[in-house]
Amino acid sequence: MSQLITQVSPHIFDKTTTQKIMLDVIIALCPAAVASVVLFGPRAALVIAVCVASCVLSEWLFEKICKRQNTISDLSAVVTGIMLAFNLPVDIQIWQAVFGSVAAIIVVKQLFGGIGKNFANPAITARIIMLISFPAAMSNWTLPNGVDIASSATPLSIMQGISEGELPSITNMLLGIRGGSIGETCAAALLLGGIYLIVRKVISWHTPVAFIGTVFIFTWILGGNPVYHVLSGGLLLGAIFMATDYATTPYTKSGKLIFGIGCGILTVLIRVWGSYPEGVSFSILMMNILTPYINKLTASKPFGGVKAK
C-alpha cells in the first residue's frame, strides 16, 4: 500500500472557495454593469474593461516583482476593477482610470500585504485618490443616453442647491436615468445584485440594511427627502458592495450593524453639511479605519468563558 495521507481533522470541507465568493460578487455586479452600458453607452464597457485589465495586470506584475504567490486567479482584482469603474464618470480619461486601478491594487491592497490584509477598501480609496487628483474630471457627469434634461447635475447636487435643475422621477431614479457614476445610478440593478449576494450568503443583510436605514431615517429627521437620498449618489453601490468587503469591515453581526450605522451617519453629515455633494466613499473609508476597534468592541463572548483574573 502506498503512503496514506495523515492530516489534522476535519477531512471534509465546504465547497466555497475564495474564487467562488469573488465569482458570486462578479455575478451580482453584472446587472449593474449591463445597466451601465445601456444607460451610458459602450464607453461604460470600455471603462470597466480598462479598470479590470489594469487591476489584474498590476496585481500580477506586483506579485511577480515581489516574488509573491500569484493570486490573480482568486478574482479579487477583477472585483476591485469593476467596483472602481462603477465609481467613475463615463467620460473619465483612460489614463486616469488606469492610474486609479494601479493605486487601488498596488498602493491600497498589495503594499499592505495583499488580499485580506488591506485595512481600507481598494476601490473606495482609489476613488478618493482620483477625486482629489482629478476633481474636474471626477465630477463631470454625462447624462445617460437620450435623456432630455437641461443640466448635467446629479440629484444630490440639485437637492443640496449646488446645481440647478429638476429632480428626476422616482422611476427614473430606480432605473438609473440620472447623472452619476456609471455603476451607481441603476438602483434596481444594484438591489438585485444585493439580494443575490444575501441569498448566496456571500454577505449578510446587517451592513447594507443598517447603512441604508440610517441614511433614510437621518435625512428624514433632518427634513430631507429620504427616498431620494437613499436612491441617489453611490449609496446603494457603497452599502451593498463596498461596505460589505470582508477584509475591511467587522466580523460579527453587531459589529456589522455598528459599521453600517456609522457609515450612514457620516454619509448624511457629509451630504448635508460637507462641501462635497457625496459622502459615501469618505464614510466607508473612515469606518474602515475604525474596523479594528469595532472588532475589539464586539468580540464574540466564548461559550462558558470565564473572565481572566
Partner: protein
C-alpha cells in the same frame, strides 16, 4: 431553556449504512491490543508472551484511578508485547494475540455481585468501558460522584452528529432492550435523576423505536435539529438542559453526567453477564471501501483485516480515519488496530483525500460566525503566528473542542483546527511556566 442558538454547520450525513444490521466478524488470525485505549494511565500487562488466553480474560490491569483494564478479545496465544505507534502519535505497548480459532470464552466470566454504590463503580471500572463516543474517558471516573445530589441530569448522547457513522444508530435499533436495561441499572445506583436522551432528527427510525421505551421508563426524549456538532458534550448539555458548562469545568459542574448510548449498552452487558468490553460495533465506510457496512469487531483487529471482511478496497485508499470526517484521526497505515472507542473506520480514495489548496485568509469571518463555542479562529491564528500566548489566553483557545467547523467553512481552506491545537499547546506551556513562577 436555550436562550440563544449556538452556531453550527450543516454537513452531508452520508449515513448510507444506517440500515445495515451489524455482522459479526470472525476472529482474525491475530489481534493487536494496545494497553492504552483511553484517557489516563496506560493499563499494565498481566500476561506474557506464550501465555494462553481466552476471550474476556484480563490481559492488562488498570494502571491507576484514571485508567481502564484491557481484556483479550479472542482466544489464543499471546505472541508478543510490542510497542506500536498509535494514530494519535503516541507509542504504547500492545499485546499481540494469535487466534487458536476456537472462540472459547474465559471460564471465570460471571455477572458481578453489586450490593453498594462502591460495588457498582468497581463493576463499571472492571468492565473496561470507556467513553464510546470517541473521547475514551474511563466511564467509572465519570460516574464516581461523591455527592450524588450534584447530579441533576443524566444525558444520553444519541446525537451521532458526525457524518458516515451509524454504529450508535444500530445500538439504538438492535439493542433497545439492553439500552434501557442499562439506563435502569444506572438509575438504580445513582438515584432518580432526570434522564434525557438527546438525538438528532435525522434518525427517524430510532426516534420511533425509542418513543414507547421512553414513555414507559420515564426517560425524556429530546429530538434536536440535525446540525453539527450537536453531539459535542458542551453543546448537547446546553441543548438538552439549557445549562452552560463553564470553561475548564466538567459537565458535573453544570449538574450533568453525559454518557454515550453505546457506553450504556457495554456497561449493561458487563453488569448482567460479566463479559467486559472485547468487541465493538464499527461503521466501515468511505469511497475506498467495497462493501460499506456495520461490523461487530473484536477489539485489536487490524484495520486491513476489517476492510478485507468488508470486501476489501474498491480503490486504492489514500486516507483512512478512526471516526468521522469532522473529528476523525487519520492513521499512518492500515495495520492500526480497532480500539475500544473506535466507532467508525473510513477509507477514502485519492479524490476525497487530496487536501484542498490553501490560500490567504480573506477575513470573511465565516470561522467566527460558525464556531459553536463562539471563538474567533482567525484571530487565534494571527495570535499563534505571533506566538502571543497572552492574547491566546484572552481569546480562550482552551475552550476549543476541535469540532472542525472553522476549517470546514473556511473558503481559503486555512488549517484552523491545526492552529487551534498548536495554540492550545502553546497556551498550556505558557500557563505552566507562569504557574512555576
Amino acid at each position: 431553556m436555550a436562550i440563544f442558538n449556538l452556531h453550527s454547520i450543516k454537513i452531508a450525513h452520508n449515513k448510507s449504512t444506517a440500515g445495515c444490521i451489524p455482522k459479526r466478524m470472525p476472529a482474525p488470525e491475530s489481534v493487536v491490543i494496545p494497553v492504552s485505549m483511553h484517557i489516563g494511565a496506560p493499563a499494565v500487562p498481566v500476561v506474557k508472551a506464550g501465555d494462553t488466553v481466552k476471550t474476556g480474560q484480563l490481559i492488562a490491569s488498570s494502571g491507576g484511578y484514571v485508567s481502564s483494564p484491557v481484556y483479550a478479545s479472542i482466544s489464543g496465544k499471546v505472541k508478543k508485547i510490542d510497542d506500536i505507534l498509535l494514530a494519535g502519535g503516541n507509542t504504547v505497548p500492545a499485546i499481540v494475540i494469535e487466534s487458536d480459532g476456537s472462540n472459547d470464552i474465559y471460564s471465570e466470566i460471571k455477572a458481578p455481585v453489586i450490593n453498594s454504590f462502591e460495588d457498582f463503580i468497581k463493576a463499571v471500572a472492571d468492565s473496561g468501558v470507556v467513553g464510546m463516543g470517541g473521547a475514551g474517558f474511563p466511564t467509572h471516573v465519570k460516574l464516581n460522584v461523591k455527592d450524588l445530589s450534584k447530579i441533576e441530569f443524566v444525558i444520553i448522547n444519541c446525537a451521532e452528529c458526525e457524518a458516515y457513522i451509524t454504529s450508535d444508530t444500530r445500538t439504538m435499533l438492535d439493542m433497545t432492550d439492553e439500552f434501557f436495561d442499562g439506563l435502569s441499572i444506572i438509575k438504580q445506583h445513582i438515584g432518580d435523576k432526570r434522564f434525557i436522551i438527546g438525538i438528532e432528527d435525522n434518525k427517524k427510525e430510532c426516534i420511533e423505536k425509542l418513543k414507547p421505551y421512553c414513555a414507559s421508563s420515564g426517560v425524556e426524549l429530546k429530538v434536536l435539529p440535525s446540525t453539527y456538532p450537536t453531539g459535542g458534550e458542551k453543546v448537547l448539555v446546553y441543548k438538552t438542559t439549557g445549562r452552560v458548562i463553564p470553561e475548564g469545568k466538567l459537565p458535573l459542574d453544570a449538574g450533568a453526567v453525559v454518557l454515550n448510548c453505546t457506553t450504556v449498552v457495554a456497561l449493561q452487558k458487563y453488569i448482567r453477564t460479566g463479559m467486559p468490553i472485547v468487541e465493538k460495533t464499527v461503521t466501515v465506510a468511505g469511497s475506498a471501501v467495497k462493501e460499506p457496512q456495520n461490523v461487530i469487531v473484536p477489539i485489536g483487529t487490524r484495520v486491513k483485516d476489517l476492510i478485507e471482511f468488508c470486501g476489501g478496497y474498491k480503490e486504492e485508499p489514500k486516507k483512512i480515519l478512526y471516526g468521522g470526517p469532522m473529528m476523525g484521526i487519520s492513521m499512518p497505515d492500515d495495520s492500526c488496530p480497532v480500539l475500544k472507542n473506535t466507532n467508525a473506520i473510513l477509507a477514502f480514495n485519492a479524490k476525497d483525500a487530496t487536501p484542498s489548496k490553501q490560500t490567504e485568509c480573506i477575513n470573511c469571518g465565516r470561522c467566527v460566525s460558525h464556531c459553536p463555542m463562539n471563538l474567533m479562529p482567525a484571530y487565534i491564528a494571527t495570535a499563534y503566528a505571533a506566538k502571543d500566548a497572552k492574547r491566546l489566553e484572552q481569546l480562550k483557545v482552551n475552550i476549543c473542542m476541535e469540532c472542525g467547523c472553522c476549517s470546514y467553512v473556511c473558503p481559503a481552506k486555512r488549517p484552523l483546527v491545526q492552529t487551534n491545537k498548536l495554540s492550545k499547546a502553546l497556551l498550556k506551556n505558557y500557563q505552566m511556566g507562569a504557574a512555576k513562577k
